[in-house]
């Protein structure tokens, strides 16, 4: 028998995640999404999972909610194993996941119907919750008639309808415009802090550092390749928290430093060539234009800038900023230390150079990246100076699996920019740029 209240002693954690690993694929091609994750959530806590895209934070959330099984390790809820979907948890989704053909009220009641609640109670509960989130009058509206913020309110109402003990939020504000997101955050915090929710703990996934500092009691910072917990940072600021507070800003800075890490040594950072033993570093999904923009901006700032401010100034989310920064680090144009980005002399030269000189600078540096060097050498040693795309793809699959095609496309972009090699789309072949012969 399972009941919601009797079996959990007050002192233990609501949720314990122990050594959870999730990997996909079979023996020869394994992709590990998260590795050896340990996490605890106590009664009454608001915990944020924070990290760049690809760090497996959403995967972890789904394992916790029971939507997918872990490959190894265990998830305990109130000290017990739960098979399949955790009946005491629910999720508010990033894209709302409302059923577009059901009205606001039907979207809320369908969750109750699945729990065999009788129609009058369903109706009453739905009306009360729709009222709570401030949508009364919209019961008969269809989601497409609502704004993004209002849709997410329906998402919250639906989640609350099943009275979850553990409320999981999967980037619930990231698909909203800035103002709606801010309003909705405030309303959620008001309900949560005012103990107006039957919820015992909240777990939120986000890549927005300010949002995490604004709302959470504790921030779990995750890193990628494979996803792991970097550190945990307790947020002990009083509510309501104010963004302009120095304490708030200092904490945001600290979290930024934890997320961005620091520039590793060169050998460690570049890795080995595809096919060779050792870890092959991925090319970050960054646009070259964005790199130029970042370098120029850093140069204007005098060569050093706070990542937090840089992101805000360039209106870049963490997910967009980090790959650009990573490519700058691979090229040796910038370094990251203590939450700051620092321009190297080479980076300064790049920022001040003409377009042609920039290409030459990149050409000189990008060849240190093992994947690009390997493609370049292969092409030059080929008798016909033309090699089929599929040749590279097959080799890259051993290192990157399903990502191989994206990696090759990125390599081609860099090769084209640096005028090292080019790609013939009609014949699916790569060839060296004539200038390099």
């Amino acid at each position: 028998m399972m009941t919601t209240t009797t079996t959990a002693p007050a002192s233990t954690d609501l949720l314990t995640v122990h050594a959870v690993t999730k990997s996909y694929g079979t023996a020869d091609k394994v992709f590990t999404a998260v590795k050896d994750i340990d996490l605890r959530i106590a009664e009454g806590e608001f915990v944020c999972l924070l990290g760049p895209s690809g760090c497996g934070k959403s995967t972890l959330l789904r394992i916790i909610a029971g939507l997918m099984p872990a490959t190894s390790g265990e998830v305990l809820y109130c000290g017990r194993h739960i098979k399949g979907v955790n009946p005491y948890a629910t999720i508010v989704f990033q894209t709302f996941a409302l059923f577009p053909w059901l009205t606001v009220e039907q979207n809320v009641t369908v969750a109750l119907k699945a729990r065999s609640v009788d129609p009058p109670t369903r109706h009453a509960t739905a009306l009360r919750l729709i009222d709570t989130v401030g949508l009364d009058g919209f019961e008969k509206a269809y989601p497409r008639e609502l704004s993004g913020g209002m849709r997410q309110k329906v998402g919250f109402a639906r989640a609350m309808a099943v009275e979850p003990e553990l409320l999981c939020l999967d980037e619930p504000f990231s698909a909203l415009d800035v103002l709606s997101a801010e309003a909705l955050r405030g309303e959620l915090m008001e309900l949560w802090l005012g103990k107006k929710l039957p919820t015992r703990a909240i777990l939120m996934v986000t890549h927005n550092i300010e949002e995490a500092v604004l709302m959470a009691d504790r921030i779990v910072v995750m890193g990628k390749n494979p996803g792991h917990v970097v550190t945990e940072i307790a947020v002990e600021l009083h509510h309501p928290r104010v963004r302009k507070d120095t304490a708030f800003q200092a904490l945001v800075d600290r979290v930024y430093a934890a997320v961005a890490g620091h520039t590793p040594s060169e050998a460690e950072s570049l890795g080995t060539a595809p096919g060779q033993p050792g870890h092959t570093r991925r090319l970050p999904p960054a646009r070259i234009n964005a790199l130029s923009g970042l370098m120029e901006r850093l140069n204007e700032e005098g060569g050093r800038s706070d990542l937090y401010r840089l992101g805000a100034d360039l209106q870049l989310e963490l997910d967009d900023l980090l790959p650009v920064l990573e490519s700058a680090q691979i090229l040796g144009f910038a370094q990251v230390t203590e939450g700051d980005a620092v321009l190297t002399p080479l980076g300064k030269a790049f920022a001040e150079a003409t377009i042609l000189t920039r290409k030459q600078l990149v050409a000189g540096r990008i060849l240190r990246q093992p994947t690009i060097l390997w493609i370049f050498e292969t092409l030059r040693q080929d008798d016909n100076q033309r090699v089929a795309r599929s040749f590279f793809l097959d080799k890259l699959r051993a290192d990157f699996g399903d990502e191989a095609s994206n990696q090759l496309d990125l390599a081609i972009k860099w090769g084209r920019y640096a005028e090292l090699f080019d790609y013939d789309d009609d014949r699916d072949e790569l060839y060296p740029e004539p200038a390099q012969e």
Binding site: L67, I91, V110, P119
Partner: protein, 576 residues
Amino acid sequence: MRRPFRFGPVSLSRPSISAADLVVVAGLGAVLALAIRLAWRAPAVVAGPRISLAVSALPWYALLSTSRMAAAYVLSLGFSLAYGYFAARSQAARKVLMPLLDILQSVPILSFLPVVLLGLSALLPQGIATELAAIVLIFTSQAWNMTYSFYQSVTTVPQEMREAAAIFRLSPWLRFRVLDLPFAALGLIWNSMMSWAGGWFFLMAAEIFRVGSRDFRLAGLGAYLQTAADANDLKAVAAGVITLILTIVLLDQILWRPVLAWADKFKVEMVSSDAPPPRSWFYDVVHHSHLIGWLRRRCWLPVTERLDLRANLPAESEGTKGRGLWRRLSLAVLALLGFAAAAALLFGFYRAVVTLAGLPAAGWAALGTGVLATFGRVVASLVLALLWTVPVGVAIGTNRRLAGVLQPVVQVVASIPATALFPVLVLALLRVPGGLNLAAVILMLAGTQWYLLFNVIAGTAAIPQDLRDSADLLRLSRWQRWKTLTLPALFPFLVTGAITAGGGAWNASIVAEYVTFGGETHSTVGIGSLIAQATAASDYRLLLASTLTMVLAVVGINRTWWRWLYLQAEVRFKLE
């Protein structure tokens, strides 16, 4: 931007001829051989129905024809939902079901008509056999694209919606009702409309099918038109055509338009689009009717409520012992059925090989020339269709005023099944030298040109305005504009249209190349003609060989030529 609707098969991006294909074709051969084995016992003389040419009989005939369509459609819908859902849910099932579906949808359906007719006639009383054969035939023409559409929808339900259904623990039934089915509804309805329109073509063919002393005709609009043409009764022909058009328009108004208007709420896009929602006067009437509202409250809602609650997952403590036993039992039954089916197929395959081995060399030579002759007609009809549909379609697609005037007209004309008018065509052309050849090409053309025209219109409408503006700004000459903008942009649409059109043309050959008219039999060289002749002469070897040859020819062409063009279209000419 909303992706414009493309009329045609969508499954060609699969690998070219594979082992699975060969297995499926061999299986088809086995099934055919078994059916033909039955056909041996089919009566040699079949008396057809008496068709009255009185105008007062027309409503009754229209009702008969429509009922056959409805029966076949209900069958198709049920099949699509079950097959598509099963294929989408079970990985193992998908591996078998999807290649099977892929071949089935490129098989020329009409080539099976004789075999099915003969097989059923041997088993059942004549009236029932012909009715059933017509329904089976229409079913096989309707089911595949609906199934494919439903399968595709179920497998592309957005991940977060699926997760929401899981986290709120919707029962499989409730998830089907509030997620899978609504998500698939629009595609299913569009495909239903296409299937329904295509069904008329096959129904008319089935209603007028008559070879030698076997008269397999069915009382209905098709047979009426044929009898009228046979009797040279132009007044009756006119009355028949008008009734047919009225029936089709009426069904459109009180069935498909209302369904489309109702289904507008199943649009998945979260933005309200600029295009006005589809409207239907009949839907408005029904929607505001008190009787319907009362039925909904009193019957529909209580019933679904009970179904929904009953389907909910039982409490967690409930034992799984009984279910385990049930599961094992059903597995055993399935295994037994599978074994029986496999044995029957093997036997059928053996029969097929034995039967085919007995076919003399002259027979094979005739098959070769037949395929080539029919192929020539198909190509001719496609070229002719392209020659007029591309300029006209582009004109309609670019000119809004023209589109407003022509589109309704085109829709009505296109909805007349070409097979219904075929007897009239024969009446007109039989005296011309090479008349049957010409009539055959015109029938193929008439049956297929609409797919092309609609695709050209859709393709033209999909050319982005900024590209058209650039073409204007660059002052491209007429020819340059066609070469650099219009034709490349149309290419994917032309290919999908031509694939469907080509399939339709092969189908038409069965009724077009062999005609019994005014008591005389006229035939021309072709594979369709061979199938019909074999049926008339009870030459079961030739019937099996010619039917299989046609299947192989069409599947082969689809898998090589069309697949290659389709890939080109997908990779190089896609406007994103």
